[in-house]
Amino acid sequence: MRACERSSREKSDYEEMDLSNLGDIISKHKDHTGVLIPVLQEAQKEYGYLSEGIIEKIAGELKLPLSQVYGVVTFYSQFRLKPHGKHTIKVCMGTACHVSGAQEITGSIATKLGVETGGTTKDGKFTLEAVACLGCCGLAPVMMVDDETYGRLTSQKALKAVRQYKKKDKEEGD
């Protein structure tokens, strides 16, 4: 990771982040073999994403080259280098969903929220992702907003669900 790529936001996150729990995660696994992926998984669960500081600390304590850790992080789609929005919208891109019009649904959400697939809205509310098969092909097309799943979608139904999250956030004064 080159220093010049570091955005100011990430940098401040890194400085503010309390990484003390990370030490526990690492020491729990340290003496076993093949632990890099579980450590990264648990770190992401704890902090929401893998900041530069987290990756550096993991590489240092597991005595692995930073390049190797970064290589693993970028290889697997589960790992994130940037924080996510408050809500994550995952539109399933499995075959059954594809033939039932998943593309159109992603498109209409993207247009409505003004983000590209994989991006986060400017207000930090929504991240839109196109994901691998969620395995509920009988309900295609499917999307998940956070932990809630919506099946047998149409663009209208999908947009309605997104509007509900917006409304709920507003009511909660967020």
Partner: protein, 587 residues
């Protein structure tokens, strides 16, 4: 019994369970218990409720319907006809589970317990002859176990179809003290979810199969590599492993014998290529999941350089049944070269989608039209895609071939993991090929050039075709590239990635021609090759489309028919999405 497989959970089965609890309390029905079962396989009908012992089947149950089921069925013994399953073929309501065509024509070996036991209770599994097979193999030699599995004719269900007994024998004979067994539960093919259903619905059957395999090859440690996207499967496996350890089916001195074996779960991190065995092992070792050159095969040098046997979930779930019922019985099911049953996940444009387990040798037509009720909304069958991104698309003419490894391979498709996506006339075959290729292109690990660059180049050609920017040489070029990638790639991901392209080019060549020569997509899928039009009879003249159109291509007075100017229209489809009357469509 309420289904709590992922499909049903997503359709709201937890709310149904809560509603039942509430009603039972209200009606003081203490002698009735709710079993939270694993997947019934009929996912399009979720949430599924089955009342035992009479086995009455209620599909798509809403919490509001629970009161009547409890009151009329459980209270007065009257079946609630209004809520029964409606058979789309016979147009009749069917009360009993076993009479529904979807189940009647299946042979359930792997799915034997799925949906009928509580997957979180080892007692339920034991009551159904669970761990009987494990106990019985411990009194014979490992060689005899291998012989039995060899005789059964069981072949790997993950895709390649290699003989399971033979694979075990290689690992058994490989020199070395320390050996591993791995269960491949990295089910990545889009459209396939049988492994997940087995893990969620009957995790002990996989553990038992794995322990028997470990005994046969002489391994004392095993890994189950589960996809990160399957949290419920991980949870149920963890419960099952703990129960097995407590009951002495895992750990030191299994069932009082000198045999030791234990299992760890490894969660994947989202990489399709990790379904390939050598990439999977690299991932367990904590590295980028890239395939390694074979030979050496995992049987001699696998995980951390030790002899390793790796089997898929469905394969292992067959093992205990084979040991218990004998190789001969298993052998009698299926075709000459492909024995036993195979689970298919039938999805897409079929009326009844879900998991079906059928004997090898059944025809595709019987599965799609006999079991799954034919095409949704009475559409026209166009193609069936078998085997996911590594498989192929077959047309109507080939529907009568029997499903078996050899016969399907002859068509250019593969049985693969068993995904079966049915397409109707609204599916564009070029677009479908492009879909699969963009999947394999993204998931290519990048280690070898043919796969990394070949799939990218093929995708570019296909994209050109679907955008109407291709020339006539493109079809030949695509064919040539596809063949090269197939031959020259390092692992099966690249080696099979061209299959969807090659099969669509073979069986649906006219569609490619239309795209290339006439710049036309008859299915109306490829945006740039379509026009957007307004249905005269449906348009109400509300003006919503005019408001939404980003380029001002729509005109029309209020309450008058609106018209799209095809010169200005950029075919973005925003008007289609926003029309409240579904009056706008692609042609």
């Amino acid at each position: 019994m309420v289904c709590k497989g992922t499909g049903c959970l997503l359709s709201g089965s937890q709310k149904v369970i809560d509603a039942f609890r509430k009603e039972f309390k209200k009606a003081n029905l203490d002698d009735i218990s709710i079993i939270e079962s694993g997947c019934h396989g009929f996912c399009s009908q979720g949430p599924i409720v089955v009342i035992k012992p009479e086995e009455v089947f209620y599909p798509q149950v809403e919490p509001e319907q629970v009161e009547r089921i409890v009151h009329e069925h459980l209270g007065q013994g009257k079946i609630v006809h209004d809520f029964l399953f409606f058979d789309p073929v016979t147009k009749k309501k069917i009360p009993h589970y076993k009479d529904i065509n979807f189940y009647k024509k299946q042979t359930r070996i792997v799915l034997r317990n799925c949906g009928s036991i509580n997957p979180e209770k080892i007692e339920d599994y034991l009551d159904n002859d669970g761990y009987f097979a494990l106990k019985s193999v411990l009194s014979v030699t490992p060689e005899e176990v291998i012989e039995e599995v060899k005789n059964s004719g069981l072949r790997g269900r993950g895709g390649a179809g290699f003989g399971t007994g033979m694979k075990w024998e290689f690992a058994r004979k490989a020199p070395g003290e320390k050996k591993y067994i791995i269960c491949n539960a990295d089910e990545g093919d889009p459209g396939a979810f049988m492994d997940r259903s087995v893990l969620e619905g009957d995790p002990h059957s996989v553990l038992e199969g794995m322990t028997i395999a470990a005994y046969a090859i002489g391994a004392d440690e095993g890994y189950i590599y589960v996809r990160a996207e399957y949290p419920l499967a991980v949870k149920r496996l963890n419960i099952a492993i703990n129960q097995s350890r407590k009951s002495g089916f895992l750990g030191k001195g299994i069932c009082g014998s000198p045999f030791n074996f234990d299992v760890h779960i490894k969660e994947g991190a989202g990489a399709f290529v990790c379904g390939e065995e050598t990439a999977l092992m690299a991932s367990i070792e904590g590295e980028r999941g890239m395939p390694r050159l074979r030979p050496p095969y995992p049987a001699t040098s696998g995980l951390w350089g030790k002899p390793t046997n790796i089997n898929n979930v469905e394969t292992l779930a067959n093992v205990a049944w084979i040991i218990r019922n004998g190789a001969k019985k298993y052998n009698s099911i299926g075709t000459e070269e492909s024995k036993g049953t195979k689970i298919f996940a039938v999805t897409g444009k079929v009326k009844n989608s879900g998991l079906v387990e059928v004997p090898m040798g059944m025809s595709l037509r019987e599965i799609i039209f006999g079991i799954c009720g034919g095409i949704k909304d009475d559409g026209q069958f166009k193609a069936v895609q078998i085997g996911g991104p590594s498989g192929g698309c077959l047309p109507e003419e080939l529907l009568d071939i029997p499903i078996a490894y050899e016969s399907i391979a002859k068509t250019g498709a593969i049985v693969g993991s068993g995904g079966m996506v049915v397409a109707d006339e609204k599916t564009c075959m070029v677009d479908l090929a492009k879909y699969f290729l963009s999947f394999t292109c993204t998931e290519s690990c990048g280690k070898c050039v043919p796969c990394r660059l070949g799939t990218k180049e093929m995708l570019e050609i296909l994209t050109r075709i679907t955008y109407g920017q291709s020339n006539e040489n493109d079809i030949e070029l695509l064919k040539k590239l596809a063949r090269d990638v197939k031959v020259a790639s390092l692992c099966a991901l690249g080696g099979t990635a061209p299959n969807p392209v090659l099969t669509t080019m073979e069986y649906f060549s006219d569609e490619y021609e239309q795209h290339v020569k006439e710049h036309r997509c008859v299915a109306g899928v490829c945006e740039d090759l379509t026009l957007i039009a307004i249905k005269e009879s449906t348009c109400q003249g509300c003006g919503i489309c005019i408001k939404h159109c980003p380029v001002g291509a729509i005109t029309g007075e209020k309450k008058q028919l609106h018209i799209i100017n095809t010169e200005t229209c950029v075919k973005c489809g925003v008007c289609i999405t926003n029309c409240p009357f579904d009056a706008i469509y692609r042609v």
